[in-house]
Symmetry: none
């Protein structure tokens, strides 16, 4: 029974979602679960705990899409009005369900006497399908008719919502999806050192002939490119995705450092581990951030030796042997100092490679010659030093995050270059 | 000019928000900022990157509420269609703005040649108000007319959105709000080193007589207590809030390290600056995290000297002079090694104070005697060493974050103690 579904809208209900007190994670959970059915979330509307607004939002969503999942507003308090609103949309009354009331009472026996206020939770739109809630008191509900479509109501607390959705609603919807089988398959490429617009320019229309969607996802320290293909099974999607990835890798070259959730520090760690090398760090403006990132995953002691945080210029001299005269002649943010820092780490440690960073994170300290955001990077790989000057826009935090990423990337590129 | 506003709707734009790939935090930020103006968020609609759908959603929202803020879809790529959609709603064309183009070019000069694809970012609905974006390329925009109302467009990346909103849009909307009446006033106390349940036990019902709401907000590295009073103006709220803060400070003592957005590293920095002291760090399991935190605010060179990341045991010996025999007899995670690390930093630096941390962040490396989460902290203040053993539960990331916070807090308490 029921119509064939192609997608659903979500109506999220709750004052706290609009006041900013609660971040709504339910929609993302629903999108993930429905994806396996080949169903997309077409739109999401967030409304307050107000019956008229819920009614209007559900009505409009059904008119557009024929299927709605609501979250929230199923509790026992006076501001829980979803049941009444949806009954209104479908022109049905609320009916008291003895079986639901007994189940609620049984649940409460363990906790104490059931409050009369909970009685409303046994009142559901006439003829509704009920999905029991093993993690809480509010059951999920579904109402459907041929002209309006399907409305599934789920409770707001994420762990209750998630259990009912996965265990009962997904099976309930299975086999009703018209995209019988079409699911989404994704691949994401991660890039560093190239602007979003430069990526767009290199891409042009070069992926337009492939049956997939391309999304540009800017991050603070790089840009991700996500491709989504819809297909009956993985092998159908794989051809288009593989082709897209191979074109992108050719167009973007060394800027691509990984796929999916790849972390640049981990990529660098794996390169070092594969070559049996250790790295030491000499950090001025990043002040420990690169060390922190290189040690985020267990097992990093295979390739991370340690390093020096040389924030003060005295520390650069005393810990790393940077020459006083180099500091005086070129300034702390200079190619020469970056190189001497990298050389100093390798000399004073058991590490064969090094990353050194010195820059002006701001907001003060900039000059016309060296504005805030100017960073010198240096790496050493087996006694060869490589340096780069970079300019990173943004706040102090952003400059530091980008400088750390830049230092890691310079070591990555140098190690890859060495291999060739 | 313009109508009086009572609330706004948000239209959030982006495929990634519906697919579940990105959790939308922008709406919560907007709700928080608008609250200070007495404006509520009335509804939020999330739509994909599709011009017709954006147009319809903005049109409906304006019809209901007369004011809309959109987020997303202002970038340079082809799926960024917000400008065109909103121009369509207001029946205006897009106009190329020479001044915007020049500003974009100037921004790019430092980074390289500007790609032609960015040209669309200088095309805005005719007559739009422009809010420059100092953190990115897409400016915020506003379009208004007497019959439809006001539409403000903001970029999707949260750090860009937030800067434009706080610095430009809030002042732009000020004086146009019509909620005469009650606003919320808040104060938040930040604690460290005391569990949420211990706070609840100390509090008991001791704030129940005050006309305010108390919320417990657990953070990874401490617990916040937020009090909210609703009143017509600040002085009405202040009495209750002041009283609550003073009771809490008495009940929680030294565990309270600050209010509002206070950062423990900044609190420590201010104590050091006030005493004319510098600090050096010796980090094993935190591997740079304490250094990073102490340098998050500008001016930290007043009190931060630098330090050593001694992840590898060889680094502890070579950089800090920890004795081989101490490592062998007591292990790297021990009171003795923590103390020798702290002593080593002070000896090898110009710093009068030090923080040293050595611990087992996991997931591997634990034993019955020293399970994962065991951390030894040591601080030096003018030649006196203080040590503490701590056990921090949680994942690797959480143990490291808590260990960094613990080290900072031990220095704070030692400095305060010294003063008495």
């Amino acid at each position: 029974m029921g119509r064939e579904l192609r997608g659903v809208e979500i109506v999220a209900i709750g004052d706290e979602l609009l006041s900013g007190a609660t971040l709504d994670s339910n929609a993302a959970t629903i999108a993930g679960r429905l994806e396996s059915l080949g169903l997309r979330v077409l739109r999401k509307t967030t409304v307050p705990d107000a019956e008229a607004q819920i009614e209007e939002a559900v009505r409009s969503a059904l008119a557009r899409s024929g299927a709605v999942i609501t979250t929230g507003g199923l509790g026992p308090t006076r501001d829980d009005v979803t049941r009444a609103a949806v009954a209104g949309v479908f022109g049905r009354g609320l009916e008291f369900r003895e079986d639901l009331w007994r189940a609620l009472e049984a649940r409460w026996t363990r906790l104490g006497r059931i409050p009369e206020t909970n009685r409303v939770q046994a009142e559901v739109p006439a003829g509704a399908e009920v999905f029991p809630n093993r993690r809480g008191t509010a059951p999920g509900l579904a109402v459907e008719d041929d002209s309006l479509g399907l409305c599934v109501m789920l409770p707001g607390p994420p762990h209750e919502m998630e259990a009912i959705l996965s265990e009962q609603v997904v099976p309930y919807l299975e086999g009703r999806t018209g995209v019988r089988g079409r699911r989404s398959f994704r691949r994401t490429l991660r890039t560093v050192g190239i602007a979003e617009s430069a990526i767009a320019e290199r891409l042009g229309n070069r992926l337009d002939d492939l049956p997939l969607d391309v999304a540009h996802l800017p991050e603070i320290d790089g840009n991700d490119i996500r491709m989504t293909a819809w297909a009956a099974d993985e092998s159908d999607a794989a051809a288009a995705l593989d082709e897209a990835v191979s074109r992108l890798r050719e167009l973007l070259g060394v800027h691509v450092y990984g796929e999916g959730e790849a972390d640049l520090a981990q990529v660098v760690g794996d390169l070092l581990r594969g070559r049996g090398l250790k790295v030491g760090v000499a950090e001025s403006c990043t002040a420990g951030l690169i060390g922190k990132r290189l040690t985020e995953s267990p097992g990093s002691s295979d390739y991370f030796w340690g390093g020096m945080i040389v924030y003060d210029d005295r520390a650069k001299v005393e810990l790393l042997g940077v020459l006083e005269q180099t500091l005086q002649r070129h300034g702390a943010v200079s190619e020469q100092v970056a190189r001497e820092m990298a050389v100093g780490v390798c000399r004073r440690s058991g590490a064969e490679t090094a990353i050194a960073v010195t820059g002006i994170a701001g907001p003060a300290g900039g000059s016309e010659d060296k504005p805030v955001g100017t960073v010198w990077l240096a790496v050493m790989v087996r006694e060869v030093a490589v340096t780069e000057r970079r300019f990173y826009p943004g706040t102090r935090d952003m400059v530091r995050a980008r400088a750390a990423q830049g230092g890691l990337d310079l070591l990555r590129r140098t190690l890859l270059e060495e291999l060739r």
